[in-house]
Symmetry: C2
Subunit: 124 residues, 2 copies
């Protein structure tokens, strides 16, 4: 594979830890990340940042205060800034995310799943 | 499908015109776009903006001055700001793009394939 070409699904698939996003690309002031997820993350919101979810494999549910949506492989959804949400995967699921570099992946909520940007930037 | 959930590949597949990107999501100051491409776009660069390519289906070649890379389905690549490039698809290919809202998809080069942001924002 040529330098700089990445396979988001292959990288996500190889991750050993759930809910630990890893940066796979930098696009100006945004990061493209992948994660392997299973179970529930945490209710949180991002006051100033939208968050784009794209499901690479499996199924992801995003619970919000007023409704819940379900994303299958190949589906995408934007959680708008300020909207409280909780991602849930009943079975293991691989996702690609677009977030601003400033975005904290569990918002202002800190749990044992919270990972720093430095942790998310570790080489994959 | 729930409101706001989109399938980038299905939207791209339904497009009737090649090289005519359509915005499918807004993430802060970036647009997520899809396009159906075939043939060669145009040599161009974006002085101040990176451009993220993700191949949904098919194969895309990105020619650059010093090398050419090839992306299969599921592969991603960032063309860094300032790098002259020309996307080429020998067969029809579906792509998802992340670009800043300010990005002109053929850079400072205008060809008969150039589409305004207003055209890219038409409902899909």
């Amino acid at each position: 594979m040529s330098a700089g070409v990445v396979s988001p699904e292959k990288i996500a698939s190889a991750l050993g830890e759930h809910w630990s996003p890893r940066v796979i690309a930098e696009v100006d002031d945004a990061y493209v990340k992948v994660a392997k997820v299973h179970g529930s993350l945490a209710w949180h919101s991002h006051d100033d940042e939208d968050e784009f979810f794209y499901v690479l494999a499996g199924t992801l549910r995003i619970e919000m205060d007023d409704r819940t949506i379900e994303l299958g492989a190949g589906d995408a959804f934007v959680v708008p800034k300020g909207v409280r949400h909780n991602p849930v995967a009943d079975d293991e699921c691989l996702v690609m995310l677009i977030e601003r570099k400033t975005t904290l992946h569990t918002g202002s909520t800190t749990t044992d799943k919270t990972r720093s940007i430095a942790e998310q930037l570790r080489p994959v």
